[in-house]
Symmetry: none
Subunit: 155 residues, 2 copies
Amino acid sequence: MPGFIGREQHSVDEKGRLLIPARFRRKFLLQEDNSGTGAPSRSPALYVFKADDGSLELYEPSVWNEKEQQLLKLSDFNPDERLLTTMIYARLDQTELDRSGRIALSREMLDHAGIVKDAVIIGANAKMVVWEPLRLETLLSDNAGRFAPLANRYI
Amino acid sequence: MPGFIGREQHSVDEKGRLLIPARFRRKFLLQEDNSGTGAPSRSPALYVFKADDGSLELYEPSVWNEKEQQLLKLSDFNPDERLLTTMIYARLDQTELDRSGRIALSREMLDHAGIVKDAVIIGANAKMVVWEPLRLETLLSDNAGRFAPLANRYI
DNA sequence: CATAAATTCCCCACTTTTTCCCACTTTCCC
DNA sequence: GGGAAAGTGGGAAAAAGTGGGGAATTTATG
């Protein structure tokens, strides 16, 4: 129950580093550090997943692990289930926050999202979603007229 | 059951701070602070949503969370449902009241509503709606003739 | 296998933004 | 009118964000 909410834009430097907004960091540093020792939580990790819509999804370990429970139920010997498992792990990566609260995104991840210089991070409750700013803008404006109908249908 | 009712106009300062009228504040400080301890309620939060009509909607956590239940049912892997989720979280932000009862609105939020110096806050029962004064005035006068027909149809 | 090149990691320094707090003015209410 | 609450503005301290240097590690290459 992280509850990431809000939208921010930050730059990605030449080293591929992307800052996780402080307000998001607080959300999971808080719950990572339930060691009771009060010691600084060692190395907050994040799972990075290439989404179909051209964005990147960032998950806390606890949230990803919960999703992963579904995967573990799949059989290695059912072709479809095996394929799905392969597809998912092929798109998955893991990264850690550095001392400044940044993560290093690999070249493939950045390419997948089309990120060059800037990135938008959207809090989507359980996860964070990373977009190339223009790509997100285009998606939203191209589909602006669909918001009301969709909202009307689904919520 | 917040029951915000009334209309007020307040200034937005250079730091983007907007005062939540005292009578609205009382509504939800009351129900936030059901800790029983009588201690000052820590950090009253508000969700801010960019509405389609060029206004900003302010929700109390309890009210927004109820809406969010609908969102949580949507699938990440159904394109329409995913798009809707993206559209909503891309327009959503979260903010807290400072000690003076103000919220800090981000630049994007202010731009969305066209707010420069002043803002009108309308209590609309479950939520508060924030308008740039002239924009609201224009909307109302441009559609004055439609009030009776609409009211006739729906209420 | 050794050396060079590249990448990663760790840290520091600077700039900008946010937060916190205080003070003043206006309005409301008895 | 006097006191309290509400509303407004701004200064200073703290935090967040950004960039980059240099050591260490990994990867390429002769």
